[in-house]
């Protein structure tokens, strides 16, 4: 597969990008959000048609009118958000939408397909039972199903969109092994990421996109992370590194959670017996693989989810549980992991969203009547102070980019002068520049005496920010690591539940 050139005028998502990946290599596609990675992969998978330029695959010109053309040409894609049908088995998911006779015949032979799938799994180290139902699988296993799906369709070119976002360090290692095995067989693996060390770990070559252009294609082994980061952002940046804060954590407990038990959406025990203390001015990092109770923990503390056991205290005050308004009144600010669906009402304006919690305050409303002039004033102030890039306060929150949306949420939460801040995956999906900003705000919050609970799947982030690290695994906390001394392996082991092994 060589020589792809395409351009997207109008938005100019891809500006005359040349991209080539050789058979038998793992090729990383690196870039910030909006750099054009997704557009490029969408063109390659037939979802978009390029306005200019041509694709050729193994030397033959290719022309895709729809995603099924791309699949027929041997291109497989593993999306960040899996496209699996939860009640179906692994094998059923794999043949879904498949065109070849084995899967398409009127009478499906499940056993034959299952054998085929099991064989593939063995060959590439993708252990997952073909007859298991998807909802029973962990996130890592679901990802394996997606990869198996592509392999079953005999994909010669496999694209993975930020595949490690949901994995533990150990699971990521295993995935890298699989990817390399596929490359050795002569397949092409395109690995989209913005994590530098992963790119270094797995890729043979790296293509860096910035502003829709191909900035450089380098050999991964020869590039330094610093160099790659500079290419990606267009300037020298500080890689996530520990910065000593001017104010050390205080002694008094800001947030105290005791014996917490919380049920998840399916009624399962999502959090069992969690006790934790965050001191004023301290950042406590909660590491863990997604889906181990992080969401339930954050929601329970902020009152969005009722507790089945235990208590939450802010300072000396015990909260009425299951009541977000009580948590807000007690001074708990919350940056939710799902910022677009929970952190803002996406269809409403920036102005409306900037008073989402404070609209009841005197001045912003008088009795039952809103003061729109004041609301716009509050919004303009937030936009200015937190450098939210927007044409004005009347823009819908949905139309903000991820980084600017997060600035809006953070700004709103900070401006309520909180005592406690619960930040859940605050930088997920953000680009390097925005991550820097968010980290700076979190440090600033801690310095002003706020007790910060940072829940994140990004271990680098936690190691860079937290004063102490605990690990959440299947609803329980373990470990109390010092980020200065703990190794990634130690923490990673706890994230995989290793200690209880």
């Amino acid at each position: 597969m060589q020589g792809i050139t395409k351009r997207f005028p109008g938005v100019l998502a891809n500006d005359a990008v040349d991209f080539e990946a050789a058979a038998g290599e793992v090729h990383a596609l690196l870039g910030e959000n909006g750099a054009g990675k997704s557009t490029l992969s969408n063109i390659l998978t037939g979802l978009y048609r390029p306005d200019e330029g041509a694709i050729s695959i193994y030397g033959e010109p290719a022309h895709f009118d729809s995603p099924s053309d791309a699949i027929d040409a041997g291109i497989g894609m593993v999306h960040q958000h899996f496209r699996l049908v939860a009640p179906f088995t692994v094998a059923e998911n794999i043949i879904l939408g498949e065109h070849r006779p084995e899967a398409r015949s009127f009478v499906v032979h499940p056993r034959r397909i299952e054998r085929h799938v099991a064989g593939l799994g063995e060959r590439y180290g993708l252990a997952v039972h073909p007859r298991a139902r998807v909802w029973q699988l962990s996130v890592g296993e679901q990802q394996r199903v997606e990869i198996l799906k592509a392999l079953y369709r005999e994909a010669r070119i496999l694209i993975l969109d930020e595949p490690t976002a949901v994995l533990t360090p150990q699971e990521s290692e295993a995935l890298f092994g699989t990817l390399r095995a596929m490359a050795r067989e002569g397949r092409t693996v395109i690995f989209i990421s913005h994590k530098l060390h992963e790119v270094k770990a797995v890729a043979d070559r790296v293509t860096v996109l910035r502003g829709g252009r191909n900035v450089a294609t380098l050999t991964a082994a020869e590039a330094t992370p610093r160099e790659l980061a500079a290419l990606m952002v267009g300037r020298e940046i500080e890689l996530a590194k520990r910065v000593e804060r001017a104010m050390p954590p205080g002694e008094t407990a800001g947030l105290f959670v005791e014996g917490l038990g919380v049920r998840g959406d399916r009624g399962e025990e999502a959090i069992r017996n969690v006790t934790l203390t965050v001191r004023e001015g301290e950042i406590l990092g909660v590491a863990g693989v997604a889906g181990n109770g992080q969401r339930e923990l954050a929601e329970a503390i902020t009152g969005m989810r009722p507790l089945s056991r235990g208590s939450v205290r802010v300072g000396a005050r015990e909260l009425r549980t299951g009541d977000p308004r009580a948590a807000i009144a007690a001074g708990i600010a919350h940056v939710p992991e799902d910022r677009l669906g929970t952190g803002v009402a996406a269809g409403l304006s920036i102005a409306e969203n900037s008073v989402l919690k404070s609209y009841r305050h005197r001045g912003i409303s008088h009795g039952p009547i809103l003061n729109w002039g004041m609301i716009r004033e509050v919004a303009r102030d937030l936009i200015r102070r937190y450098a939210v890039a927007t044409p004005g306060p009347n823009l819908r929150a949905r139309d903000l980019s991820g980084g600017n949306l997060q600035k809006l949420v953070l700004g709103r939460e900070f401006s309520s002068a909180p005592k406690v801040l619960i930040a859940a995956s605050p930088t997920r999906g953000l680009d390097v520049g925005a991550i820097e900003t968010v980290h700076a705000y979190l440090r600033e919050a801690a310095e002003s005496g706020v007790a910060v609970l940072l829940i994140s799947e990004d271990l680098d982030e936690i190691r860079a920010l937290a004063d102490r690290i605990v690990v959440i695994y299947e609803g329980e906390l373990s470990g109390d690591f010092d980020p200065e001394t703990a190794t990634v392996e130690e923490i990673g082991l706890a994230m995989a539940g290793g200690e209880r092994g």
Binding site: L47, Y48, R49, D65, S66, I71, R83, G341, A345, E352
Partner: protein, 371 residues
């Protein structure tokens, strides 16, 4: 190849132009139908317009037919704005009519008209609000789907109405003469209890119509300048965001259901006080008119904006008025239905074009398909 894809941006002018284009297309299609059935399209359109909007007599009828549609349209708009799909305006209107008629019958003819009107409105609105709250409580506390419950309650309300007039000796039923004992009907309001009308430029405008305008203004104020309206907007956009920001979503669901029901109930009261003066349980009566269901269409076309709902209500009322006028020996009722259907179909179909665009030929940006 034809592809339908979502518009990335919705130009503002499009929202204004498309309705007119849709109506023009509707008239084009209708011309074919009319020619095929041997009618002169030009003349028919002329009669259609004249019947609905030409002269004070036409306007009087249009306003009369529009009044209940504005009420039910506003009722649906209130709830739908908060993504609360109350399709029970139909039943809530029956209950409003029952309660308002009950109030009038109980009071008797010897009270001041102001008191009678007030009592009818309060009873009609309160009764319908309580009726709507059945579905509201189920939704708020048991997470029951309100579409199903409100729809089912429509049938319950309809059967209750029938029962009260045809199958029982309720206080609503007139049993004073032999004739009414064999042909059941309700106690009629006395002329002293009829709601007043005002004449504007020769058009006789009922009190109910003015009340509907008042309700539309009140709802606009509620949506635009109050905390309550703000909370409705947030809940309508994202229930999770509303819960996150500490809003009491349950209370809001109950309140909005009650307001929605009350508005529909006022429509029922106005039917009794303004127009029919009896509680008509026959198939040609309230239950035949389907005001509640038409109101949903009115609300959707008005994009849940109270003033737009008002205008659309008048237009749809005019269309129904014209339909009544057109039908006759040479113009069967079925054809009237076809014409009304074509107009509504085209206007609703046109709405789709505001949000989506149709592309002919090859598609540079394909509709999203999952692989």
């Amino acid at each position: 190849m034809i592809a339908v894809e979502r518009r990335l941006t919705q130009p503002r002018w499009l929202t204004y132009v498309i309705p007119f284009v849709s109506v023009a297309v509707a008239f084009g299609i209708m011309a074919v139908v009319l020619l095929a059935t041997g009618h002169d399209p030009g003349r028919t359109y002329r009669r259609l317009f004249d019947a609905a909007f030409h002269g004070s007599a036409a306007w009087t009828d249009t306003v009369t037919l529009a009044t209940p549609l504005i009420f039910t349209g506003l009722a649906a708009a209130v709830a739908f704005r908060m993504q609360l799909f109350n399709i029970g305006a139909e039943g809530q209107l029956y209950i409003g009519a029952i309660c308002a008629a009950g109030a009038a019958i109980w009071l008797g003819p010897d009270h001041a008209l102001t008191l009678t009107i007030l009592a009818m409105c309060v009873c009609g609105a309160a009764g319908a609000a309580l009726w709507a709250l059945i579905a509201g409580v189920l939704r708020a506390f048991a997470r029951t789907n309100e579409i199903i419950t409100t729809l089912m309650l429509n049938y319950v309300a309809g059967l209750l109405l029938t029962y009260m007039i045809f199958d029982s000796a309720s206080p609503w039923r007139d049993v004073s003469t032999v004739q009414t004992r064999s042909f059941p009907q309700s106690v009629a309001l006395k002329p002293s209890q009829f709601w007043p009308t005002v004449t504007v430029f020769g058009v006789s405008v009922s009190f109910g119509f003015l009340l509907a305008i008042g309700v539309a203004v009140a709802l606009w104020v509620l949506f635009r300048v109050t905390r309550f309206g703000f909370e409705m907007n947030v809940i309508g956009d994202s229930q999770r965001a509303a819960r996150y920001s500490g809003m009491r979503t349950r209370r809001k669901i109950l309140a909005v259901m009650a307001i929605s029901g009350a508005v529909a109930g006022l429509g029922g009261a106005s039917q009794i006080g303004d127009f029919s003066h009896v509680l008509d349980a026959s198939p040609q009566g309230l239950q035949g008119a389907a005001y509640g269901y038409t109101g949903i269409v009115v609300a959707a076309l008005g994009r849940y904006n109270p003033f737009a709902v008002f205008l659309v209500g008048v237009l749809v009322g005019g269309l129904q008025n014209a339909g009544l006028f057109l039908q006759g020996a040479d113009f069967p009722i079925g054809l009237v239905g076809v014409i009304q259907g074509i107009i509504l179909f085209c206007v609703l179909g046109g709405e789709l074009l505001v949000r989506y665009r149709v592309r002919l030929g090859r598609r540079p940006v394909a509709a999203v398909e999952t692989s």
